[in-house]
Symmetry: D2
Subunit: 504 residues, 4 copies
């Protein structure tokens, strides 16, 4: 059946999909590979905010106690924070600040998370913590201006409902939230603070209790946050993990949950930020590198804006060290890019979205059609991606009747198409064909970079009655982008292709 | 029939194909589009020399007579020449100097050639001409060093056998050659001078008379030069010309001619430079923009090194104004690139050649196979291109048995392929589909730039007995490049692709 | 006497000085040296518009008549115009369009101006001219959008009151203005058209007659334009010209003249653009290269905004060919920069202005003091520049009491100063010391580039009662820029400079 | 007394000063600030090798044991090592490899050094250590080629004579050397291995015992290495250390010591590399940031090549974390550059050296004079720097009679001079004037960057009899560079400076 796409938009296309993206711990932002990867991402996708852990951890070097004149004092040092934020702003992206983890010299215990040892124990001294929070924010305001910092959301901690991230329990988190939120507002009432940044699928009831706590104490809160992942139990191999996945719709359900759980409270009406999402929550699951992954996430990225104000893909690149330094170019990292700016299929899903218009003409389970201010029509379409492994090889077809030019126009249109699938733009497949080299040389990196580019084609289609019929036949796990532009024919009247090789 | 490519090279691959390339008049080299086009060309192809007209014409501003103290003097000014040569050297290319045309204030008449009015009359004063030649060379030596300038060939004039380029007749040319060659050697005996730069198909006997003149007078000569074109009579349309073409072999015959014509003279043993070649000699013939053109020239580029020391494609880009400023993005210009660095199919023929190894394993009428120092094997193959228009649509097949790795090796190889054809990397076709816009906007330029990239694919092939069988099925007018690399398999023993979606 | 600069601004600083800058003919904008020079200028100065001749001349290749089917037609080609305007916009500058000169195939005669032969005769066919104007504007609107093109002023012709620029006489100019202005408004009523672009000091009465003509015929006019130069009669030497200069105040008088001359007419209230100004109108007068020139123009640049809406320095760089291709690196060109981005003293006058704040605290005959949004205070001061040659060697002193920080503040301020004078930032002097090389090599260019940088110094000054006393002692022909910032002292209490070499 | 510098060279200028430079731990090389700092350093100085700690430490992620099929195995991973070495080679510098420290999962204990916790205990398993060494070298050879890796010296450990760097004692070091050197040579006999990398001033007798051990066991050794520092006891303040310094000559004595200590052994004739040197060995001693430091080191840098084959300044930049993350822009780090590429005075000492010629004309206690291939003469001169603090304020004078042009030449020469001193190019002084801001904003960084540039001047000096007299009057702690070039006068005969302002 052919879908007749209307001439007029039904709704604006929400920007929620590009509002935020995740990153490895903040001091990784000092690195060149990271910055080059982010520069590429911003040039071709253009996220608005970036969120990662470790703002207050030792690697950033902010909290620096010392002894002088016989007493303990604290110097707040911004050598690296300035370099990180300068780089972000230079690349057109702003920080989504996450307050955490505890600096080791302010910590109440020695428990840590990750290979890089973020301290997960409550601060030993609430006043020193509050002063740290205030000092950071005051410095940012001094350096970047109040108007700008007011635009940067401030989230208290990360996934406190998981014991691996927080040893303080729920009451301890509530206390941390209170101290931190009040410290933020003491600096400036216009700064935006929020939480509770919960992980999915464990102690889900924390959100209601958090809501009640905030309401009871009448604490400041400007947004609500949680995370979403769709993977099952971990099966480990050396340097890797395999997991089953739930259907992609499970992610959309997780996005939607907080507004339902908080219904009837003051928090239900606040902006809702999914500050992390992905399929698997493991940075060593090869599913992240596959063509399947782009097709699997396509309906989430195309539709998530209906239920949340942002949903932040965790993470933009594989410069990431939570389970150690990656030992292979492709290692199942979260990144849209792996090391050295090599694009995985999911990168293209986002890059295609960034080429869509701002008004929705049609949306369905396998497509999204938009119109641009200049009249162009663009289509994102995707093949099914079944986490049970039942996908057809090739041939899923999306049939569209697209409006082109003014109603009633005749002539032709120029179609430009880009695709990723098991065959095209699938760099991981090329890497497998190469024998999975852990550390490919420069020549092989070039070949991989080439293989990572989407398939591209163009053609002319006839237009009658202001419409063009387009059949998008999709390959296995294909995500495709189509741009259709009406042709203004400037061919001179004397043109005769038959004369190209002369008058014989 | 499958061609069994030997393991060991039969010959080195001559560098003649990349020794020189042509350019529009030298002051065009001051332009940004020109320099960006040359930068791209050098990065991806890497020519050694560049040759164009106009070194001494008014646009370069070198010859500057003035009156002082009641007498005529000449200042030699190098404001632009320095900028041009600096740019060339910075881009890794050296000038192939062409002495011409006559500065208007040194000319004996007012006849000019081209829209930009190069003066084609003999110098009015031979001494002032000789002094001009010496001043230019001395300045170049001062600025760039004698060692370097000795590497830059110096050609006397351009196509003097055509009356549109030279009003002085053959004796006049002989005199110009004598004065110029002696002036060159007066500066330094190690500088290389040559000629006669004859156009094909008209007064071909000039070359023998030139040879006799040089021998009789015992004049210095370090190389012999001529041009080659394969087009027939001109049929004009507004802003365009159509011509029939001879088979490509005609070009190879023209390359070879001077050594036969000069047989028995001292000149026969000199380096032979084809200082211009192309199919059509018209800068407004759309054949230059086509996929046909790449396939047509492929055997010439792959084989011309057998008969000449260089053969210089005329020209590397469409920044060129001989018949006026181009009025459309695609206008049939000579360039490998049109304006704004958009790659025509013939560009890729050269870019593919630049990826070939330096030892020939096999060569045939539709293929060239080479080996690299690191053991990789590369193939250039092409479909037939019949100037009578009789080419099959698709399906010309080149069947090869290629040596991969050490003799007897087993396993697999990684194949990387790039192609241009009527379908792939054919930007002119995309431009036609767009309605042939004279001046496409930025968005359309992006689409054209994308369409100009070659088709790319990769796959794994089995290797047995140190050999892989490869069938290259070619599309209409395809030129294809294949790189085959033996795979070192690093796949860990625990890898199981069936577990990607978890243990279900 | 010390000038006590008030704490509060007296007026905003007009942007007139940076509203427009002049350029050599438009097709020179295709060149790399030109674009690099403009990029530097925009980075460090930041002009809003750029105006030059030749938009419709043959070198831009716009007007392209041809024969087809037995009749004359015209193709309007934008190959170069698009490259030029793209480059301007990319560099953050917009065209101030000048309609001229006549394309040779539309001209009524063969008279030309300049080495590059701009045709100065009236169009042979007014309809074809009007169609040409409309075609250019319609194309610009298609490509860049109506909103943007409405911001680009459109001036009819250049200096028609000089017979070397226009053979049509005053009535002929009036007719050209009428035809052109109506053609502009036919495309879009919101486009801005103006004139009459008169040269100073010759037939000055034309402006009143032009005003009367426009009023009588009720023609569209959005701005009034004229030029200003302060030089006397020409004395020629080979490749150069010497002229006396009037005092700089003569330029300000010329700026102010049109509003007085047009008093009482509708035109008196229109924006007034001085679309060219300089001291000498000759591109081969070495005065342009000197330190004198910066000091001479300083009061004009600092104060011209009082009397005109813009005054456009003619020209931003020495890529310029009106009297031929320059034969030496320094040749007395108009440019703020000579070739290869070498900065003349007048460049720094503009670069210093670009560092001034947007609110005027004080202004006098040798200084301008401004305040920035962030509280910094900046000073531009200059030594006298007497065109009669009577300037003192050194020692002109500007004594200021500057407000620093909040009223009553105590402590210190950081002063940063940059200067050009006969001694500092005077690249022409360095070039003279080098023996005036016509074409300096790379190493010498580096030395010149270094000599072209302003002198720089910094120091700490005490602040009492919210004020710092600063004595600016100026060298001969110095123009100096001072920035003063209050210091927030972060020196730790334990710092002891005496311990730097250890506790001995 | 005027020093008459001879016309002919006395000796070549040794390259030892630029042969090697130090760096913070290798994984810091992944950072952008680091790479931009190194790029600047290479562009303006151009070191040949770079040496730092941590090649085998956890931060590089090379040694990666895992369990599979019930047994311990080790994967050697090169994700970061490749990025680091790629970056080095891209910047034109090669690694001077230091084998160390022990990966934590191969260590025999938990003792660590530095904030970043390098493990300093002997390997728990010599075979696994040897395999690690071989794997690293084999990988480097695979990736970069044997020819290249053979040029990279390999040093066993760092300062094993200090207990803070090595818990294994001298015998333990000997064993480590033996195992490591044999592993290196097992990979390729042409690789260069050496040691013992001793710190100065503690257990100096280790070197003789090391020599004896190597001779007795007939172990491979290709070079001898040690370190040199001239500072006295540490006096701490928060975030800083003060120390007395020995005279600079003490460094030259330390450079020379090993050849004396090893006299009579096979090792005495080997290349001698001072693989670290500086005044203070503390990364928080502000002396490193001062103008004093450049003057103090000038005689060492100018003369060290007499006694050692290399002496490696520790370190090129302040991206360095041994005592923690720096808390202020200027913090007394070792770097020639502090963060964000800001140049300290010592940077310019090296940058001046890089401008010297390759033949020595004269050398004294306050100057070095060289000649270049093109005939230019360059001078490095320095004021005295007394670590006892007794330096005169200004006025130390170096009087030279310099050969210019051919013997007997008359005319003039162009002198170009650059200086750093307490007044010029002293960014630390500017930072102090600014109030020592821990984290200066962008505008202040610009002012600091400007203040960090050396003072520059130029002038013309007369030449008689092929000589120019030059008096270099030096300011306190000045290091100055002078280039003198003979002038070829191209001034036209008609030039008359008196006509600049016209014929009045």
């Amino acid at each position: 059946m052919r879908i007749v796409v209307p001439q007029q938009p039904t709704a604006p296309l929400s920007d929620a999909w590009r509002t935020c993206v995740g990153t490895g711990r903040l001091d990784l932002a000092l690195r060149r590979d990271y910055q080059e990867s982010l520069a590429l991402t911003q040039r071709e996708i253009g996220f608005r905010y970036i969120r990662g852990h470790g703002l207050l951890s030792d690697g950033m070097g902010v909290h620096r106690p010392y002894e002088h004149a016989g007493e303990r004092r604290v110097r707040h040092a911004f050598t690296y924070l300035d370099q990180v934020v300068d780089a972000y702003l230079e690349l057109g992206i702003a920080p989504f600040l996450e307050l955490g983890f505890t600096p080791s010299q302010l910590a109440s215990g020695e428990d840590t998370v990750f290979w890089w040892k973020g301290n997960i124990t409550p601060p030993a001294d609430e006043k020193e913590w509050a002063e740290l929070v205030r000092a950071v924010l005051r410095h940012l305001i001094d350096r970047y201006g109040l108007d700008q910092v007011r635009e940067w959301p401030i989230e208290v901690w990360n996934e406190p409902n998981l014991p691996i991230f927080w040893t303080g329990g729920q009451d301890g988190y509530h206390r941390l939230y209170e101290v931190s939120a009040l410290a933020v507002k003491e600096v400036d009432a216009g700064l935006q603070v929020g939480g509770p940044s919960l992980a999915p699928g464990y102690r889900d009831e924390w959100i209601q209790r958090f809501g009640a706590f905030v309401e009871d104490r009448d604490l400041p809160i400007d947004f609500v946050s949680r995370h979403a992942y769709s993977s099952g139990p971990e099966r480990h191999v050396p340097f890797g993990t395999h997991q089953t996945l739930m259907p992609a719709s499970a992610l959309l359900e997780q996005f939607a949950a907080p507004r339902q759980q908080l219904a009837g409270t003051r928090l239900a009406g606040l902006p809702l930020h999914i500050t992390e999402f992905n399929s698997s929550y493991r940075p060593d699951n090869p599913i992240h590198d596959t063509a399947f992954h782009a097709a699997y996430l396509a309906p989430v990225v195309a539709g998530g804006g209906d239920v949340a104000d942002s949903f932040s893909y965790w993470t933009f690149c594989d410069v990431f060290e939570e389970v150690g330094i990656p030992t292979a170019l492709f290692h199942g990292g979260f990144g849209l890019l792996t090391h050295r700016q090599i694009k995985k299929p999911a990168y293209h899903l986002y890059a295609f979205m960034a080429q869509m218009g701002d008004a929705v003409l049609a949306r369905g389970e396998d497509h999204l059609v938009t119109r641009h201010g200049d009249g162009r029509v663009t289509v994102l379409a995707w093949a099914p991606a079944d986490p049970a492994g039942g996908d057809p090889v090739d041939g899923h077809t999306v049939r569209l009747s697209l409006p082109v030019g003014s109603p009633g126009a005749r002539g032709s249109a120029f179609c430009r198409r880009r695709s990723v699938s098991e065959e095209d733009g699938n760099v991981w497949a090329a890497w497998c064909e190469m024998g999975r080299p852990l550390a490919p040389t420069g020549r092989r990196l070039d070949a991989l970079r080439e293989a990572a580019e989407p398939g591209r084609s163009h053609r002319s289609v006839p237009v009658t009655g202001g419409r063009a019929d387009v059949d998008l036949v999709l390959r296995r796990h294909e995500v495709t982008f189509l741009e259709i532009t009406p042709v203004v024919d400037e061919t001179p009247e004397w043109w005769d292709a038959g004369r190209l090789l002369g008058d014989r």
